[in-house]
C-alpha cells in the first residue's frame, strides 16, 4: 500500500506540471487582462498602466512569468518602481515554496484571502453536509428496504425533481418564498434573511446565525441529498439480499438494527469513495450558493477573481483545486482498499 501511494504521488507530479502550464497560459493569455478594467474605472493614463504592468511583472514574456510564479524571483533583480531599470531584488518566493503571491486587486497576500474565505466555506459546507447525512441516510435505507413502495416511488420522483432544478434557480425561489412572500407575523419583517452570514452591526446571537444559514443550506442540500440518497439506495439493494443479512434477521434481530447497523455499514462502503471524490466540491464550496447569498467564501472569491482578472488569486485557487482533485482521487482509492480487505493494489 505504501508503495502504491508513493507511486501515485510520483505520477501526479508531472501531471500537475502540465496542468499548471496549461492553466497559467490560459489565465495569462486572456484578453482584457487585469489592467483593462482599471483603465476604465479609474481613468488611468497609459503611463500609469505601464508602471503597474511592470510592478505586476506583466511586461515579462510568458515563460518568465511562469518561472517567477513557480520558483519565485528573489534570485534575480526586478523593476518594481517602474522606471525600466532592474534595480531591486524580487520578493516572490514562488508557489513551490508556498508563496502564492500578492493579489492584484487588494495588494494583500493571496493566501490570506484564501484562508479567510475557506473558513466561511468550511463552516457552510460542514453544516450542509451534516444536514445531507441526516436526510440522505434514512431516506436511502428506507427506499431500498421498501423498494417499489409508495415511499420509494415518491422519493424517486422527488430526486428526479431535485436533480432537474438548476441550483441557482432554487435559490431564487427560496428567496422569493421565504424573504419576499412570507413575513414574520409578529414583526412584519421577512421570515428569513436573503444574504450574509449574520446581521451586520448586531451582537453575536446564535438564532441570528442559524437564520442566516437556513436558506443557503437548503439550497445546497437539495442536490447532494438526491445524489447521495440514490447512491445509498442502490448500494443498500446490493447488500440487503446477502446471506448475512438474512441470517441476522433469522436470528430474530430487530429489523431496524439489521438494516441500519449490519447492512448500512457495508452499504456505506462505496459511498465513502464517492464522498472522497466529492471533496473538491467541498473545497470550492457551492459557487452559486455563495454568490446568491453574499457568502464570503471560496466560490465567491473565485468568481470575483475571474471578473477582476486577478491572476495570482485565480492561479492560486485553480492550483489548490487541482491538487485537491488529485489527492481526493488517491484518497478514494486508498480508503476503499482500507475498508474492503478484498481489494489489493500493487
Amino acid at each position: 500500500m505504501g508503495h502504491y501511494v508513493v507511486r501515485r504521488l510520483l505520477q501526479a507530479i508531472p501531471l500537475m506540471f502540465i496542468v499548471s502550464i496549461v492553466l497559467f497560459t490560459l489565465v495569462n493569455l486572456a484578453p482584457g487582462g487585469p489592467l483593462a478594467g482599471r483603465g476604465q474605472s479609474r481613468r488611468m493614463r497609459p503611463e500609469q498602466i505601464a508602471i503597474l504592468k511592470r510592478q505586476f511583472g506583466l511586461d515579462q514574456p510568458l515563460y518568465k512569468r511562469y518561472i517567477f510564479w513557480l520558483v519565485g524571483n528573489d534570485w534575480t533583480k526586478v523593476d518594481t518602481d517602474g522606471d525600466g531599470i532592474k534595480d531591486s531584488p524580487g520578493q516572490g518566493k514562488g508557489i513551490l515554496r508556498g508563496d502564492f503571491g500578492m493579489s492584484y486587486r487588494t495588494r494583500q497576500p493571496v493566501i490570506e484571502a484564501i484562508r479567510n474565505s475557506f473558513k466561511n466555506t468550511a463552516y457552510l459546507m460542514s453544516v450542509t453536509l451534516i444536514v445531507v447525512a441526516i436526510i440522505a441516510i434514512p431516506v436511502g435505507v428506507i427506499s431500498a428496504v421498501k423498494q417499489y413502495s409508495i415511499f420509494d416511488i415518491i422519493v424517486t420522483t422527488l430526486s428526479f425533481m431535485g436533480q432537474a432544478i438548476p441550483e441557482f434557480w432554487l435559490g431564487l425561489i427560496l428567496i422569493l418564498v421565504f424573504y419576499v412572500w412570507l413575513k414574520n407575523p409578529m414583526t412584519g419583517d421577512s421570515l428569513l434573511p436573503a444574504g450574509g452570514m449574520y446581521t451586520l452591526g448586531m451582537e453575536f446571537s446564535l438564532l441570528d446565525w442559524i437564520k442566516h444559514l437556513i436558506l443557503p443550506v437548503t439550497m445546497g442540500v437539495v442536490g447532494w441529498v438526491t445524489w447521495y440518497s440514490r447512491f445509498l439506495r442502490s448500494s443498500m439493494l446490493d447488500v440487503i439480499h446477502q446471506d448475512y443479512v438474512r441470517t441476522a434477521r433469522a436470528k430474530g434481530l430487530r429489523m431496524s438494527k439489521v438494516y441500519f447497523k449490519h447492512a448500512l455499514r457495508n452499504a456505506l462502503l462505496p459511498l465513502v469513495t464517492i464522498f472522497a471524490l466529492d471533496l473538491p466540491y467541498i473545497f470550492a464550496g457551492s459557487l452559486y450558493v455563495e454568490i446568491m447569498f453574499s457568502w464570503p467564501g471560496m466560490g465567491r472569491l473565485y468568481y470575483q477573481a475571474a471578473i477582476d482578472r486577478d491572476y495570482p488569486l485565480l492561479m492560486a485557487i485553480l492550483t489548490i483545486g487541482t491538487v485537491v482533485v488529485v489527492l481526493s482521487n488517491l484518497l478514494a482509492d486508498v480508503i476503499y482498499a482500507k475498508l474492503d480487505p478484498r481489494i489489493h493494489y500493487d
Partner: protein, 304 residues
C-alpha cells in the same frame, strides 16, 4: 441466421425490443411528450406577434395577462417570446455539447479500448489530466476569457462557443465508458473471427464493435444534454455564458434576483422551462437505460 434472431424474445428485431421496453417506462413516455411539446413551442417561436429583442417602453414590467402570458421585462419585451427564443439557444447548447462529447469521447475511447497498450496508456493519461481539472472553476475561467476574445467567429456563434467550453470539460466520461465497452467486446470470438476474415482495424472498430457498444453511450449522451442545459443556464446566469440581448434560459434569469420583490414572474418562468426540459430528458435517459439493459427489464417484467 434465423437462430440468431430467435434468441431475442418474441422473435422481434433489436430496435423493436428496445422500443417495447422503452414504452414500459411511464416517466420516459411523459418525458418524451413534454420534451416534444417544448421543442415544438420553441420551433414555432416565430409565430409570436412580439419581437424578442425590440423594447417597448410603454409596456414595462407588466404582470402575466392574456396578451402577455408570462408578463413583460424591464424593457417591455414579451417574456414568453423571449423564453421561447431562449429555449432555442439553450436546447441547441445541450445538443451541441452532446455532439462534441461524442465527437471527442467516442474515438478516444474506442481507440484506447481496442488497441490497448501504449496507445491506451497515452490516451488515458490525457483523460486523467482533463479529469483532474476542477471543472466548474475552469468552466468559469474559460467562458470569462472567451467572452472577451474579439474574434468574429466566436461573437457570431455564441452557442458553439459555450458548447465547446462545456464539451471540452465533459468528453472524458464518454471516453471512459466507450473504452470499457471496447475492452470487453474486443475479446469476443466474433471479433476474432472478423479479424481472421481479414477485416481492417478501422472496419472492426466502426462497424463490428460500435453497434454493440452503443447502448451505454446513448444513455450517457442523453443525460449529457440535460447536464449541458443546466451548466449553460448557470454560466449565463453568472454572466459568463450567452450574452444579452440574445436570450437564453440562463441569462433571462441573470437580473432576476434584483427584481424578485416587485416582478417575481421574471424569475419564475425561465426557471420552470429549464426544470421541465431537464427533468424530461433525465426521464427519457432513465427509460433508455432500462431499455438497453436486458437483465433489468426482463427481471422487472418477469421474463427471467
Amino acid at each position: 441466421m434465423t437462430e440468431a434472431i430467435n434468441l431475442l424474445p418474441h422473435g422481434e428485431s433489436m430496435q423493436a425490443l428496445i422500443w417495447r421496453r422503452f414504452r414500459r417506462h411511464p416517466g420516459a413516455i411523459i418525458g418524451s411528450i413534454v420534451l416534444t411539446a417544448i421543442i415544438l413551442a420553441v420551433a414555432l417561436a416565430g409565430l409570436s406577434p412580439y419581437d424578442p429583442e425590440k423594447s417597448d417602453m410603454s409596456a414595462r414590467y407588466q404582470p402575466p395577462s392574456m396578451s402577455h402570458p408570462m408578463g413583460t421585462d424591464a424593457l417591455g419585451r414579451d417574456l414568453m417570446t423571449r423564453v421561447l427564443y431562449g429555449g432555442r439557444v439553450s436546447l441547441l447548447v445541450g445538443l451541441s455539447v452532446m455532439l462534441i462529447t461524442l465527437l471527442i469521447g467516442v474515438p478516444v475511447g474506442a481507440i484506447a479500448g481496442y488497441f490497448g497498450g501504449n496507445v491506451d496508456n497515452i490516451l488515458m493519461r490525457i483523460t486523467d489530466a482533463a479529469l483532474s481539472l476542477p471543472s466548474l472553476l475552469v468552466l468559469i475561467l474559460l467562458s470569462a476569457i472567451l467572452r472577451e476574445v474579439e474574434a468574429p467567429f466566436l461573437k457570431s456563434n455564441p452557442v458553439l462557443t459555450i458548447a465547446s467550453v462545456i464539451g471540452l470539460l465533459a468528453w472524458m466520461f464518454t471516453a471512459r465508458l466507450v473504452r470499457a465497452s471496447y475492452l470487453a467486446i474486443r475479446e469476443m470470438d466474433y471479433v476474432t473471427a472478423t479479424r481472421a476474415l481479414g477485416a481492417t482495424n478501422l472496419r472492426i472498430i466502426a462497424l463490428h464493435i460500435f453497434p454493440n457498444a452503443i447502448g451505454p453511450v446513448i444513455v450517457e449522451s442523453t443525460l449529457e444534454v440535460a447536464y449541458a442545459i443546466l451548466e449553460e443556464s448557470g454560466l449565463s446566469y453568472l454572466g459568463f455564458g450567452i450574452q444579452p440581448p440574445t436570450p437564453s434560459w440562463g441569462n433571462l434569469l441573470s437580473n432576476a434576483q434584483e427584481y424578485l420583490v416587485k416582478y417575481p414572474w421574471l424569475a419564475i418562468f425561465p426557471g420552470v422551462m429549464i426544470f421541465l426540459s431537464v427533468i424530461s430528458i433525465n426521464y427519457i435517459g432513465d427509460g433508455l437505460r432500462d431499455a438497453f439493459d436486458p437483465y433489468k427489464v426482463l427481471k422487472k417484467i418477469g421474463e427471467v
